[in-house]
Point group: C2
């Protein structure tokens, strides 16, 4: 176990004091900011998340605000998803790509007004990419990081907890839609979204000073719901097939390789930087594809670097990028990028784990629930 | 002390195995990569660095390569430093700014050829900024992260150690110049530079496979020089007035506020994005300025967030962004951004440290050596 040396550069969040009081044990660093990764036992946290409700400090999902007459053109420039029919207060999962179709980030963007978007980013400086493009294109937009820090409410009891703090209006929010709801006199955007498959909300806390009061209100209201502090859970997100930018995909990967083709419509995403590359790739099909892997045998060690995947013939045909033991699925679950010709579900491949070579079975994502 | 949750997203370096074998105790995360921060006792490491020689894994200083006919125009676009007289194999400390003159990074760039630069970056995704600008301007350049990982040799015995591995040619390298020298048949760029004031080199290791052999060669050759594994040292860098992007300066600061005016020549940096803003600011002068502070009293706690600086009149007039106890200077040394009217050396101000309010004295940077 290695210590994290913390300095101002690794930014604290509006919730850090509360997270530390709740006994955080491990952080990761995400967008130059602290992101709680564990409170001591990720297996227990996974089980709790599937039964109860958790509050997550995901302030590290920083917002890039795009505001001005060219805002919509600016966002469309960055993504091959067609935004022409986007509605106000609707959220969109957006692959962001470069001129070759390489993934630069995979944020959730919200259209707040015709001339105003928040892009809730994964771990890379989308602000720099957007500012560079905007300057080059002489777009009339302002691009900045507003004082907005998402706080997630996740788990099956999320509706009940959120309703106790924000009112019953939260119950009517549809998936990937949001509403402006009031907390202590301030309107906050509350969306039905989040980095788990257990349901819930993300509250876009738009005033640092309200971070601790909101945290406290949720814990006071949720005591009988067994609310706990948590964070994105490695086990649950792999089981659910939720990709992680920087782990499971990088600039070296295209949206098609990441199985994100359903979010892309290069023919209609007029203006998108990588549109030509995407149109070519759409017809060619990908040369490798994201898949699940059940890695057989005992518990795998922590996946700190990519592990080679080997065919029966002894050739490298892919790599494992995330892996962990799943108590519910009673196997090691993993996310992998696998070459064409080797990715069909059911095939057996070999994984060069740091301890020893292990057989593994290719699966689709998300992992299918085990029969009970 | 909090644990760092490591995943593939927090990238290992070509030297990580050796760093861990050497007993690293704390990492920070820098450019999505592991950067060793401590091997257990930063005061002992500071004293050793000033007397002997250390090898630092600074692979996290990632390179952004700019290659192609428009390379020089591309680099000049990003900085208010005049590059028109730049020579081959010369290194430059480059403030990078946005259209308002806000600092985006403060790399050291090397001109490798008229059409080829490496930008050795601090902690922000300069690659995204450069790619966005290049696309917008339709510049003919390729921009990518090459397989280049700096390894630093720092301390007064650096010349001797580097000469034993790369030959006596290293001794003639002038400050911020470099030479291509051979290690195991591969030419590597070796520059007299580094993030300490104790002298030394940075080797731009341009093949991951040579990382461990070079590390081993340096330790074998340096045994009688008392060579040790180290990393950028918080005490030594504050004493020496070496700024840290993200800690001591952010997008909210201009080069003039960071006292980097001597590196800027907006009148002659034709094409620079923030040139107009810089010309205005050059004549206005900054409204706040980076300074040293001697914070009186016992050892300060770790500086994890900015600490307010208060005037005798009770107003906030600045903030401390880095602070640590210095055994050699027998005081707490700090780097601070202080408002106009309060920054003259010798003035006493008050620092709201997390434990209690402390008096502090404004100084110039670097800190002046104590009388012996």
């Amino acid at each position: 176990m290695t210590e994290l040396a913390i300095s101002r550069r690794i930014r604290a969040t509006p919730f850090t004091n509360r997270v530390e009081a709740a006994g955080v044990k491990g952080y990761t660093v995400y967008n130059h900011m602290l992101l709680p990764a564990s409170f001591g036992d990720i297996e227990a946290e996974c089980a709790h998340l599937k039964q109860h409700v958790q509050v997550w400090d995901v302030a590290a999902e920083r917002q890039v605000e795009i505001f001005g007459p060219d805002a919509e053109k600016m966002v469309q420039l960055m993504t091959p998803r067609d935004l022409s029919k986007a509605k106000i207060d609707q959220c969109f999962y957006l692959p962001l790509i470069d001129e070759r179709g390489g993934m630069l980030n995979d944020p959730v963007a919200t259209k707040l007004a015709p001339d105003r978007f928040w892009i809730s980013i994964a771990d890379s400086d989308v602000l720099y990419w957007a500012k560079g493009l905007a300057y080059g294109f002489r777009f009339e937009v302002e691009i900045f990081e507003p004082d907005v820090s998402p706080l997630a409410i996740q788990g099956p009891k999320s509706d009940e907890l959120a309703a106790r703090v924000f009112g019953d209006a939260v119950r009517d929010i549809r998936f990937f839609r949001g509403k402006w709801l009031t907390f202590e006199g301030t309107d906050m955007f509350v969306a039905r979204s989040g980095y788990s498959k257990q349901g819930g909300f993300e509250v876009y806390v738009n005033d640092t000073a309200l971070g601790e009061p909101l945290w406290d209100a949720l814990f006071a209201a949720g005591e009988d719901l067994n609310v706990r502090a948590g964070g994105p859970n490695l086990i649950e997100r792999i089981e659910g097939g939720l990709l992680s930018y920087g782990n499971d995909m990088t600039r070296q990967n295209t949206p098609y390789e990441c199985d994100l083709g359903r979010f892309c419509d290069p023919w209609h995403s007029i203006g998108c930087v990588g549109r030509d590359a995407m149109i070519r790739m759409e017809s060619d099909g990908p040369q490798r594809l994201i898949r699940g892997l059940r890695i057989h045998g005992e518990r795998v060690p922590a996946c700190r670097t990519a592990w080679a995947i080997i065919s029966d013939g002894g050739e490298q045909v892919g790599q494992v990028t995330s892996a962990v033991w799943s108590p519910e699925f009673d196997t090691n679950v993993a996310i992998a990028m696998i070459d064409r010709g080797y990715w069909e579900p059911g095939r057996t491949l070999w994984v060069e784990a740091p301890d020893h070579m292990r057989p593994a079975e290719v699966t689709t994502l998300p992992f299918e629930k085990p029969d009970v």
